[in-house]
């Protein structure tokens, strides 16, 4: 289990700290074709003396079709990074480019339109309780422009088939198991044909085996679509499914090949045990 490390962080100064010497910029290296290009992203919560820095000059880029897993102790800023990339929060400092378009300074309306290109999968499945599995997925498909009702409904059914739930079309979330609910959530996210999938601990509510199955499914479907994935996870058993592993601590990112190796070792021993 990761331990809480936030307390070790010294209290940041009241005003945003002066920009440091730029670190090597992975986004630049990756070029402008990246799905996500984050450069020098910093973020704070609170006001005045209560102000607390959660992201400190984060740089990250994700290529189309790439699956990136983000790990780190809780409270280190992973979820904040996810909400910023997901256009759910206004960018304060630095740059987040989604498919070449800058999010810093985007209006509410622009962010709302940007979100249509992003699929989101939550820790809790966040399905609409009053809708059947099929209708939930169709809420995703309904976001696609210029598609008739029947085409959108057929799309919803196809996605449910793709996640192996073709026999549960008319069930309410209440009647589905945790793994099934998460599969519906995946189908819903993918039905909107996103170019980027954000997932926040999608396996947290699942047992290890179901969790791994769900993430394998997610990775396979996303790759088929050329859709990038940024997934926050604590689950060591799924780390080997990543193309790239990124670790975050105290608002900073560390990319470490050795970490991935270690994780792979844990995962293989975990799956045997």
């Amino acid at each position: 289990m990761p331990t809480r490390l936030r307390s070790s962080e010294p209290n940041p100064s009241v005003s945003p700290p002066p920009p440091h010497q730029p670190l090597p910029d992975p986004a630049k290296a990756a070029g402008s074709a990246a799905s996500v290009a984050i450069t020098q992203l910093s973020h704070w919560y609170g006001q005045g003396v209560n102000q607390r820095q959660v992201l400190d000059q984060v740089n990250l880029s994700i290529q189309p079709g790439e699956v990136v897993l983000l790990t780190g102790p809780s409270g280190c800023g992973k979820t904040t990074l996810l909400t910023l990339v997901g256009a759910l929060r206004q960018v304060m400092e630095g740059s987040v480019r989604l498919f070449g378009q800058e999010l810093n300074g985007a209006t509410r309306r622009q962010r709302q339109l940007r979100r249509r290109q992003i699929g989101m999968i939550f820790q809790g499945h966040n399905l609409l309780r009053c809708l059947s599995a099929e209708q939930n997925v169709q809420m995703g498909a309904d976001l696609l422009p210029n598609l008739g009702y029947r085409a959108r409904r057929d799309l919803a059914r196809e996605w449910l088939r793709a996640v192996g739930l073709e026999d549960h079309l008319n069930k309410l979330p209440h009647d589905l198991s945790g793994g099934q609910k998460q599969r519906v959530a995946i189908a819903r996210a993918l039905a909107a044909e996103p170019r980027l999938l954000l997932a926040d601990e999608p396996t947290a509510a699942l047992d290890s085996r179901t969790g791994r199955e769900v993430v394998e499914l997610l990775r396979g479907l996303a790759r088929n679509q050329g859709c990038s994935v940024l997934m926050v996870t604590h689950d060591p058993r799924i780390l080997d499914l990543a193309d790239r592993l990124v670790q975050m601590e105290d608002g900073r990112l560390m990319e470490d090949g050795r970490l991935l190796q270690a994780a792979l070792a844990v995962a293989s021993s975990g799956s045997v045990g």
Partner: protein, 393 residues
């Protein structure tokens, strides 16, 4: 069927508003019961108000007249003052006038032939040969009044006057006292009670003067004037007003009814009481619908936030709440309309008031229910502003 529908309506969406409501049938039922209750309350209050005002002019509307003469001291049907009968004779001089009927009008005490208790009844005295009401069935019954001491009893009078109608139909001879004098019921008419009078009886002028011996000679309370076809009542009234002395006032038939209704409207609290009752129904309905919609939005706030995170614009979600309000209004109105129909029937039986559903009131109550539901939806929408998609991760 569904295939045809989806072909006709390609931009169709999941009916989220309907599903949000219908997947919680308990709450939906409570909401509909509340809205229907508010609707029934409004229907009843408005029905009573209109019924009472309509009842006050039941007689006024039936008189066979284009114009009427009244004393300027007359305030309402329960306080009719007399004026000289010769004014009605003067009116005959006008070439536009086809005929007149002098009418005596006062409240007298009727003795219940069964229980022997007395009760105030409205008595009209007229010459049986003269037309009184525009409907014709009175003319044949009026013959019996040419015999002295006979009266026609209003079978729609309140039951406190005794089982006169049923006894009469059984063929029994009904003799009782009016104003201390013996009268015999010679027939039945159907008029109906009003504010001022719980019952009515008709008699000849001759019998009337026996019942009211101290009636000033040559004094009547109401003069009916019939005009020749094609004459404009308002123009003739204006001409007559100029000719006649100021011991009479002239109304058109409609003006006479309005005069009576104005009295009850202005000198009693009835209009205010029932309008207030209607407003109470409206407020109660608002509170119920707002409560339901507000808790519905609060309960589903994470789901609304999820939809916002997926890229649904806020106005579209506000539309869902508005549609919920619209659906509640439609579904709540129908049962209230049906229940009001049934209750109006009960009220008619119990009070003999002419309370019935009319389109105007039906539309008014529907408009109020709609305003209630959409207004509450608008209030509940403010809660949607609390849905922050950044909080759901």
């Amino acid at each position: 069927m569904i295939g045809a529908l989806s072909a006709l309506w390609p931009s169709r969406r999941i009916p989220l508003a309907w599903l949000l409501l219908s997947r919680q049938p308990g709450r939906l039922l409570v909401a509909l019961a509340g809205i229907s209750f508010a609707g029934i309350l409004m229907f009843l209050q408005l029905g009573f108000r209109d019924g009472l005002f309509d009842a006050s002019v039941i007689l006024h509307k039936r008189f066979d007249a284009d114009l009427v003469l009244l004393s300027p001291r007359t305030m309402s049907s329960i306080a009719m003052a007399g004026f000289p009968r010769r004014r009605l004779v003067q009116v005959m001089a006008d070439p536009a006038v086809a005929g007149t009927t002098p009418v005596h009008w006062t409240m007298l005490l009727w003795r219940n032939p069964q229980t022997r208790t007395t009760r105030s009844i409205l008595a009209l005295g007229f010459d049986p040969g003269d037309p009184l009401f525009s409907d014709s069935d009175l003319a044949s019954k009026a013959n019996v009044l040419s015999q002295h001491g006979r009266v026609l009893f209003d079978e729609l009078s309140r039951p406190e006057f005794g089982p006169v109608a049923s006894w009469f139909r059984q063929g029994r001879t009904i003799e009782t006292e009016v104003a201390g004098k013996r009268v015999r019921v010679g027939g039945l008419v159907a008029l109906g009670p009003s504010f001022g009078a719980d019952g009515n009886l008709l008699t000849s002028s001759e019998t009337f003067l026996t019942l009211v011996p101290n009636n000033p000679a040559g004094s009547i309370e109401l003069g009916l004037i019939r005009l020749r076809p094609g004459e404009a009542a308002e123009a003739v009234a204006k001409r007559l007003r100029a000719q006649l002395p100021n011991d009479v006032t002239i109304y058109t038939k409609q003006g006479f009814a309005d005069f009576e209704q104005d009295y009850w409207r202005s000198s009693t609290a009835i209009g205010f009481i029932f309008s207030l009752g209607t407003a109470m129904g409206f407020v109660v309905g608002c509170v119920i619908v707002y409560q339901i919609l507000h808790s519905d939005v609060s309960d589903h706030l994470p789901e609304y936030a999820t939809l916002m995170a997926m890229g649904y614009p806020l106005p579209q979600l506000l539309g869902v709440v508005a549609r919920e309000g619209l659906l509640l209004a439609l579904m709540g109105y129908l049962p209230s309309w049906l229940a009001a129909q049934a209750l109006y029937g009960l009220i008619r039986d119990a009070t003999k008031l002419p309370v019935a559903m009319d389109n105007q009131r039906g539309l008014l109550v529907f408009a109020m229910i709609l305003a209630m539901c959409l207004g509450s939806a608008l209030m509940a929408m403010r809660k949607l502003g609390d849905a922050d998609p950044a909080e759901i991760f």
